[in-house]
């Protein structure tokens, strides 16, 4: 009997760890803020200390509620995770975003759009090479014409 209860508790614990790892990460971040606040002097540390303390309590309360299975039906529906499947497509999307922003940082907005957009269409849509290139160049052209030529905004042109 005791073993059964322990197994149930540990499996629930494992499930909470899996389903709530994001909440755990955010709670740990709040703990980081709390620890950091102790290193700040005077008024600079008081506010973050108070807020971080409350946030850590709220984070643990969320986890405790999930662990005890005390979420009501509607709460479970609202709190249950994920619409985003962690598959190859999701990973590719994240990689593309990082790549596009890094490219923009180094080479500027127009060059970033010219290179990153066709790669996006090739990797993440069903478009062929020609239409991917065409769409990518159109996006860069659209941004350049509308924002630089018509609106007269300075477009970031990279580090070099």
């Amino acid at each position: 009997m005791r073993e059964q209860v322990e197994t149930r508790v540990s499996s629930r614990f494992a499930r909470v760890l899996v389903h709530e790892w994001g909440t755990i990460a955010f709670t740990l971040a709040a703990v980081g803020f709390l620890v950091g606040a102790f290193g700040l002097r005077g008024q600079a540390g008081q506010f973050p200390m108070a807020v971080a303390g409350l946030t850590v309590i709220l984070g643990f309360a969320n986890l405790a509620l999930a662990l005890s299975g005390r979420l009501g039906a509607s709460d479970a529906l609202r709190a249950g995770s994920s619409e985003l499947g962690w598959n190859r497509r999701t990973v590719l999307s994240f990689v593309w975003f990082g790549f596009a922003l890094a490219l923009t940082y180094i080479f500027g907005l127009v060059v970033g759009a010219v290179i990153a957009s066709p790669i996006y269409f090739l990797l993440l849509t069903s478009l062929g090479v020609f239409y991917s290139l065409l769409n990518g160049i159109s996006i860069a052209l659209f941004i350049w014409v509308v924002f630089s030529k018509i609106a007269g905004l300075p477009l970031y042109d990279g580090l070099f």
């Binding site: 984070g59 509620l65 249950g80 999307s93 994240f94 759009a113 993440l124 769409n135 609106a151």
Partner: protein
């Protein structure tokens, strides 16, 4: 007052003003029609333009977009049976059945006209209340302001996308993110990890862009392109002429005046409460109109009253949400937070001076929102069902690069610092995680925006009270607000416990079968 109104009207009706009005309306309307995008993304995408124009023109552009996106969202709900944005969730309940019955133009007509009428009504109400808003805002010192922000964050946590605890937790995280940078009180760098680019804090535009368009774009890119709903064909032979259906829709909107007026008033009142917003109003008005109707049998099967209730209420929140934003500088929604962000970038602090020094801008916002609502409703009516259908069919994934690069442009123009791109990317990841784990991005971003102001008002209040925390309960206005805070928390907990116990009661019945 009249002078400010006339100069605002002149500003909106200049050729440049009208062009910006049309641009804001068209962009937000199209984005509203695209599934998954809303007026919020529309406003963020339009942000780059605001860096080359003045405050009045920026407000014309953004305010018209604010209202137009709501009208666009209804079109998707009617065509696809999936909400164009969260504020149109209840719209699809009766809008989609009408489309299936071959009465698409009728449904669009009902949605557009009720949106326009309720939107204008809510803005007129704000205009009538303008003379009384300055005295009200003067009642708010640091103590009252602090209490009201706490109230706003608590309400935001209840009515937001998630549970109360998660909402409060998200608000706490947002306040913590707001402490990054130089301390407002001591001028000491905090949590900057030696990066001088972070001394100015997390820029609000990077936060908007990261948490919303970039996080949404990740979801769009990651979802399979064919996962979108298809536009279903209406029932064969039941399609009347477009013009006849439009006229019928206009007539019926006014025929169901009770539903229209209840929803408009309810939407406006819900809009005034910070954070509750259009999504809640959309559902609440639907339920209230259904509850007060004698014949409830047609609701959910294409009842015009359901569609009127949903659309009138979400547009009526626009005017209501402007009140706390303009009078107190507390954004009630993400859209008003963007408006306030642009105010701040232009060196204008919302609050009582908005009714004295910057009254013209207030009128510009009201007029541009009104014209934007009318223009978007007119567009929906005139373009017609057949022309709008292809827009609703566009695959989300194909517009991702455009959204990402225009968002990058907004981030780069806000401070001129390319480092902000990394911040936007980091906040994008946080936004994705928050969406996946059902934490409230809205609570986070509004708390981040208000964080420095909360901290300074907290210490100002303490210094007024010579260091005694008793100052927070020595003002009548603050005490009323604290009562509202504790009353709302208590009401939420009671309803949660009741829901929990009713679920527990139901379990043995199920197991005994």
């Amino acid at each position: 007052m009249l002078e400010s109104f006339l100069s605002a009207l002149a500003a909106v009706t200049t050729p440049e003003g009208l062009m910006l009005l049309a641009l804001g309306t068209v962009v937000a309307f199209i984005l509203g029609v695209l599934p998954g995008l809303s007026s919020t993304e529309g406003m963020i995408i339009l942000l780059p333009f605001t860096f080359s124009i003045g405050l009045n023109d920026s407000m014309i552009l953004l305010s018209s977009a604010y209202a137009a996106g709501f009208v666009g969202g209804a079109v998707t709900s009617i065509f696809l049976g999936i909400p164009g944005s969260s504020v149109s969730l209840a719209t699809m309940m009766d809008g989609y059945p009408l489309h299936k019955q071959g009465r698409t133009s009728y449904a669009i007509s009902l949605a557009s006209v009720s949106s326009a009428v309720a939107g204008i009504f809510s803005l007129l109400l704000v205009a009538l209340l303008l003379p009384y808003m300055e005295p009200i805002s003067l009642l708010f010192g640091p103590v009252e302001w602090f209490a009201f922000v706490v109230f706003g964050l608590v309400i935001l946590s209840f009515a937001g996308e998630t549970t109360m605890l998660r909402g409060l937790f998200s608000a706490g995280l947002g306040l913590l993110a707001g402490t990054v940078g130089l301390s407002v009180m001591a001028g000491v760098p905090r949590y900057t990890m030696g990066v001088s680019d972070l001394w100015g804090g997390i820029p609000i535009i990077a936060a908007f862009v990261g948490l919303y368009p970039i996080a949404e774009a990740v979801f769009m890119a990651a979802s399979h392109p064919r996962a979108l709903g298809q536009v279903s064909e209406p029932a064969a032979g039941s399609e009347k002429s477009h013009g006849r259906q439009v006229i019928e829709g206009i007539q019926d909107t006014f025929r169901y005046g009770k539903a229209l007026s209840i929803s408009a008033v309810l939407g406006w009142l819900i809009g005034v409460v910070p954070g509750v917003g259009a999504t809640f109003a959309n559902f609440m008005a639907y339920l209230v109109v259904k509850g007060t109707s004698a014949d409830k049998s047609k609701f959910g099967r294409g009842d015009p009253r359901g569609l009127i209730a949903a659309e009138a209420s979400n547009n009526a929140t626009v005017g209501g949400a402007l009140i706390p934003a303009l009078a107190l500088g507390i954004p009630g929604s993400l859209n008003t937070a963007i408006l306030l962000g642009v105010f701040m970038l232009n060196g204008v602090a919302p609050g009582s001076n908005i009714f004295t020094e910057n009254l013209e801008v207030t009128w510009v916002i009201l007029l541009a929102t009104a014209f934007g609502t009318l223009l978007a409703s007119g567009m929906a009516l005139c373009i017609g069902a057949r022309a709008l259908a292809p827009l609703a069919r566009i695959e989300q994934a194909t517009i991702v690069p455009l959204i990402v690069f225009i968002s990058c442009l907004a981030v780069l123009l806000a401070r001129g610092n390319p480092f902000d791109l990394f911040l936007a990317f980091g906040l994008g990841l946080i936004g994705v995680l928050m969406k996946v784990f059902r934490l409230s991005r809205l609570s986070f971003v509004i708390a981040l925006m208000l964080g420095p102001l909360v901290e300074s008002s907290f210490f100002q209040a303490l210094s007024v009270g010579r260091g005694s925390p008793a100052i927070f309960i020595q003002s009548a206005v603050a005490n009323i607000i604290w009562l509202l805070v504790f009353g709302s928390v208590a009401a939420y907990i009671i309803s949660w416990v009741r829901a929990k116990s009713s679920t527990t009661d139901a379990l043995p019945e199920r197991s005994s079968r």
